[in-house]
């Protein structure tokens, strides 16, 4: 067994194990953290597939930004202990299991079925290593770009797949607008509040108490002769 196989075996065991733990943990914080482990390990898989850019992006966006947001929200929900053990009703769990297995089967199918990888390969760009791109900044005239490198990635996304890429951008933009509309709870009431009239305090939560601490901070940060503390 080559060294790469050993590394891949270790990585896969960690990834699958962490994924299983993420599903079975009762405490959502642990689920989120195990999911983060899975995502980090998938970054290692990308690295092994000689795609360092994807690997780093996986860490930066999924493990970094998205999972931090997940964990942040879960922590602020501050679930009571009795809510943590709550499980979904049986029919729902069976349905979820069937859907999960179905997705798994769809993804596993190409790996098992001998004809499919060949068909998928025909969709791939011809002989990726030899593809010559128009000159990028700093690479001189028509440099050959290595597969998986950042430049290759950029040329692929903004060349061959530019239309799907832009469509995804529009989708994300729509999601951002939707979130803004949903999060801004009462548009009409807000306008009244903006002209200085005081409103009822927001329902007490961690962040409301926190906002209160800003108000007290405002009075406590008066500049004094001895400057900021040690």
């Amino acid at each position: 067994m080559a060294a790469a196989d050993v590394i891949f075996l270790v990585i896969s065991i960690i990834a699958v194990g962490a994924a299983a733990l993420a599903v079975t943990r009762k405490n959502p914080i642990y689920s989120a953290l195990f999911m983060m482990v899975t995502l980090l390990v998938v970054a290692a898989v990308f690295q092994m597939l000689s795609s360092p850019f994807l690997a780093v992006m996986q860490v930066l966006l999924y493990a970094g930004a998205i999972m931090v947001l997940f964990t942040f929200v879960i922590m602020l929900l501050s679930l009571r202990p009795e809510e943590m053990g709550e499980t979904a009703p049986l029919p729902q769990r069976i349905f979820a299991a069937v859907v999960a297995l179905g997705v798994f089967a769809l993804l596993a199918f190409p790996a098992i079925e001998p004809g499919v990888p060949a068909a998928a390969a025909s969709l791939a760009p011809p002989a990726a290593e030899a593809v010559r791109f128009p000159p990028a900044a700093g690479t001189g005239d028509g440099a050959t770009v290595e597969f998986g490198a950042t430049a290759y990635f950029g040329h692929t996304i903004f060349g061959r797949f530019v239309l799907p890429f832009e469509l995804v951008s529009i989708l994300v933009l729509a999601a951002v607008v939707a979130v803004m509309v949903l999060a801004k709870r009462d548009l009409s009431k807000r306008d009244v509040a903006d002209d200085g009239s005081d409103r009822d305090p927001p329902p007490l939560s961690v962040s409301a108490a926190h906002a209160g601490s800003i108000a007290s901070l405002a009075t406590s940060t008066q500049p004094t002769s001895h400057g900021p503390g040690a």
Partner: protein, 437 residues
Amino acid sequence: MLTGLLLAAGSAGRGLIDLDLTSLPLVGEMLAEHPTIAWPLLMLAIGCGVVIGYITVFSLLAVYAERKISAFMQSRLGPMEVGPYGLLQTAADGLKLLAKEDIIPRDADKLLYIIGPIFVFTGVWLSFVVLPYGPDLIVADLNVGLLFLAAVASIEVVGVLMAGWASNNKWALFGTMRMITQLVSYEIPIGLSFVAVVAISGSLSMQEITLDQQGWFWNWYLFRNPFLFVGFFLYFIASLAETKRAPFDLPEAESELVAGFHTEYTGMRFSLFFLAEYAAMYVVSATAAVLFLGGWCTGFAFIDSWMMESAGFQRVLANVVGLTSITIKAWFLVAVMMWLRWTLPRIRLDQVMYVCLKVLLPFSFGVLVFSTLWELVTDGTLFGDWWPLFQFLISIGGFGLLMMNFMAKERPYDIEADFRPLRHSEVHAAPDAGARG
């Protein structure tokens, strides 16, 4: 400088290592059988050891410097008792921290409480892997180096989340919330500054970005065009917030939050946070040095060309020169950070968010767009070989004009406007009130 020599011996004197290690029974066989895997692993192991030593020594010196600088600014002497001029004070403090009782609160989430500081330290420590110190002094010259820096910074965020939440303490949770809000927001202007530089260098590799700035100091990206000149200051301000230094030290504002997310930590676990904080200062400063101040290049064309062409013992010497160069630049920026900490009062949380989202963000976008346009229009060779010098003069001159304009319009400081208490409606609209989920 001692660590510098260690680094030089560690990675530049590769021939030396070759002789010693291949004669060892087990390691030698490994190296002979799997040279493609064993060599990088070995270099990584040496690099890790050297980096840990470097972080420790740097932190000891930086804490001493911080105390002496604060003392100087407040007309005090600072530490004077332990060792000559108090030089051993921080070493004594380190020993004290090691010997302190390690307390885990009863209601804390033990697992997360324990691995939180490890995550924070690892995140910062990994950043050192891609920082170049000389022509050969880099643990791993990844072709996605700059992105790697941004990515490992997010591991630190995860560690803070774990530590703050697991402590089961309201001050820790408040500190964590502020820290996450601040870190996640300030990553955007930092990322945009990175992109502005990468758009010019055409590479994400830290070593290639450095090499692109060789020659006289007007080749540095700081003077590359007037917009990047501004970009440097934007990056520096954002990096202050990223390392939670004053005036952005809200996450551990001791006058209101005890100590922020590490309120419950003692002993060695606390010192991991402490080391990570000072190491992060070095990382952002060294990154600023690489991106804008030429990295290990000296700024003198004849020295830089000698560094690249030298071989043998001269090569080792060149690496030492490079290391000295980047260390001086990084230490200078660290000193500025300390200077700012003891000069400026802490700002309010809504002001922190205001600075990020309404000042730094639009300006960073402007820097990205206009500096790229400038490059496209001038193509780097508008007046032949002397164009970089012209750009240098334009940058300096433009900044001078801007400052003069700013000075001329200076109004008397309106303390009421900046420090009046917030009205209730404003508190509700404060940015972090949106974090209600």
